[in-house]
């Protein structure tokens, strides 16, 4: 018999033993009763397994402090930006959405990509990725690149998660492809990857630009933002408990080197958020 990972039961604290009982109540029949925490003598009860969460993941906007494109005259050009937003629940098909936001010279840029009302069980692992590229390859090719790249990165992160799990449990695991290894090494996913990773633009830039064969990066084209996050279901629940009105985060993405003549590195700030329902 194999025991599952332990799951934190939120909204319960005790200074004595919890008591588990099988009852005819709830979807699993398991109810928990416990004494209050510390000196609290109160007796509390509730379902041992909490209902799944319904969460919405959104990338509302980003801010350009410094473009990637430039010339000998300075930052006089514009970035032609494409955004991808990807979500994977381990064991389910990853989803990647893309958007062309056109030519940008700086300031705030609205995006509005989201995954609405995603059901997350406490046993789930959720992987989130965003990417922004400055590309002159046109909307269709750029979107296709982002979709393929995003799906590959989510898949690599999922395999890294399973790798970490199976490594812990000493079970055999399937080998990663060389490309996936590149993503994992680049993103430093080889160890225990939970909790989340954060901004990985610098770490995976090399893999990122080479990940889709035949995609060209002329002139000042290149990636300007990339974030990768991994949460367990209970970690997301904790995040929502700490932020009942939603978790909003702004990631600073210091840029990577561009071709000679493009000027200083880019600097993009990407805002993403998670809300209940």
């Amino acid at each position: 018999m194999q025991w599952s990972d332990q799951v934190n039961r939120y909204f319960a604290g005790t200074s004595a033993a919890p008591y588990l009982a099988s009852t005819s109540k709830g979807p699993t029949g398991l109810m928990l009763v416990w004494k209050g925490a510390g000196s609290d003598p109160g007796i509390y009860y509730g379902p041992m397994e909490l209902p799944p969460q319904t969460l919405t993941f959104t990338l509302p906007s980003f801010h350009i402090s410094n473009m990637r494109s430039g010339s000998l005259l300075g930052k006089t050009e514009s970035d032609t930006d494409y955004v991808s937003f990807g979500l994977a629940i381990v064991g389910q098909t990853p989803q990647v959405k893309t958007l062309s936001v056109g030519d940008q010279t700086g300031g705030n840029v609205n995006v509005g990509l989201n995954f609405s009302k995603v059901t997350v069980q406490d046993t789930d692992t959720v992987i989130l990725n965003y990417a922004i590229i400055n590309s002159s390859s046109g909307p269709s090719q750029s979107a296709a690149f982002l979709e393929k790249n995003g799906a590959q990165l989510l898949s690599a992160a999922e395999k890294a998660y399973l790798l970490a799990l199976t490594s812990l449990s000493k079970l055999p695991f399937s080998a990663l492809t060389p490309q996936e290894e590149g993503a994992l090494i680049g993103a430093q996913l080889g160890g225990i990857i939970l909790p989340g990773l954060g901004v990985v633009l610098g770490a995976i830039a090399g893999w990122f630009v080479d990940s889709v064969a035949g995609f060209l990066w002329p002139n000042c084209d290149g990636p300007v933002a990339n974030g990768l996050y991994v949460w367990s279901g209970p970690a997301l629940r904790a995040l929502m408990v700490q932020n009942p009105n939603g978790h909003v985060q702004a990631d600073d993405n210091p840029g990577v080197n561009s071709a000679s003549g493009c000027g200083s590195n880019s600097d993009y700030q990407v805002t993403w958020q998670i809300t209940s329902q």
Binding site: F11, Y19, Y45
Partner: protein, 250 residues
């Protein structure tokens, strides 16, 4: 959110316990601090609330479980229409029990295990699979985990010791063990710096069938396990052993 409900008008300094009997929830607990009396309350509704987060209807009054007193938290289970309570007595660490049926408690006093008395210095753990009662406790004499069964609700068999698993080593625990029982499986868990669980046929241990002892989770300093069968008694759902425990800092 309704993920925890406070039962008003009651309090304890030890772990409470409950069971479902005749469609009602029977809650028992030891008094606060040095109060060794045992108390109980029973939901007024025969029908459990329909959703997972709805409240049970507990009356505000608390009642004494006869004149019984316990030195540690009580434990309770149901077989048929009768609830069985087990606890560590206050006078001599004897393992005592009582039953609740038709609104009446019956003090069954100290348990005789095949004519022998045994003692424990922690709370015992009682469970049922609907056909028999199963009791586990720390044996004060050996430090091992003792267990016994009762099939008729009256007479307990001799004390057995949880045997070594296939990985060797007799299971021991520094805290009260947990027990749960389905038709095919029994298990205990304890603390020895980490949570361990033993699974396998409850008896006999032998005939080439060894218990498997495995670590549960990776939590630092897990303590005070409680075990029950997930979906036990629900139609079409296979029972799965489930363990609840607290961890350092939780």
């Amino acid at each position: 959110m309704d993920y925890q409900q406070l039962i008003t008008g009651v309090g304890t300094s030890a772990a409470p316990a409950w069971t479902e009997v005749n469609g009602k929830i029977l809650l028992v607990w030891k008094g606060e601090g040095t109060d060794t009396r045992l108390f109980f309350t029973l939901t007024s509704s025969a029908t459990p609330a329909p959703t997972i987060t709805d409240k049970y209807s507990f009356p505000t009054a608390q009642n004494l479980v006869g004149a019984m007193t316990a030195s540690a938290n009580p434990t309770i289970t149901t077989m048929g229409n009768v609830a069985y309570l087990a606890y560590c007595g206050t006078s001599d660490d004897g393992i005592c029990w009582a039953k609740y049926s038709d609104g009446t408690w019956t003090d069954l006093h100290r348990i005789s295990f095949g004519g022998q008395n045994h003692s424990t210095n922690r709370a015992p753990s009682i469970a049922s699979n609907g056909k028999a009662l199963f009791l586990a406790w720390i044996d004060s004499d050996s430090g091992g985990i003792g267990w016994a069964t009762c099939t008729d609700g009256e007479t307990w068999g001799e004390q057995q010791q949880v045997a070594a698993g296939s990985t060797g080593g007799t299971p021991t625990t520094g805290e009260a063990p947990a027990i749960a029982r389905s038709d095919k499986m029994s298990m205990w868990s304890g603390k020895a710096g980490r949570m361990m669980a033993s699974t396998g046929p409850i008896s006999p241990v032998g005939n080439g069938r060894r218990r498997r002892i495995s670590r549960v989770g990776q939590a630092p300093d897990p303590r005070w396990p409680s075990m029950a069968m997930r979906c036990y008694g629900l139609r079409g759902r296979a029972p799965t052993p489930t363990l609840a425990f607290i961890t350092k800092g939780s």
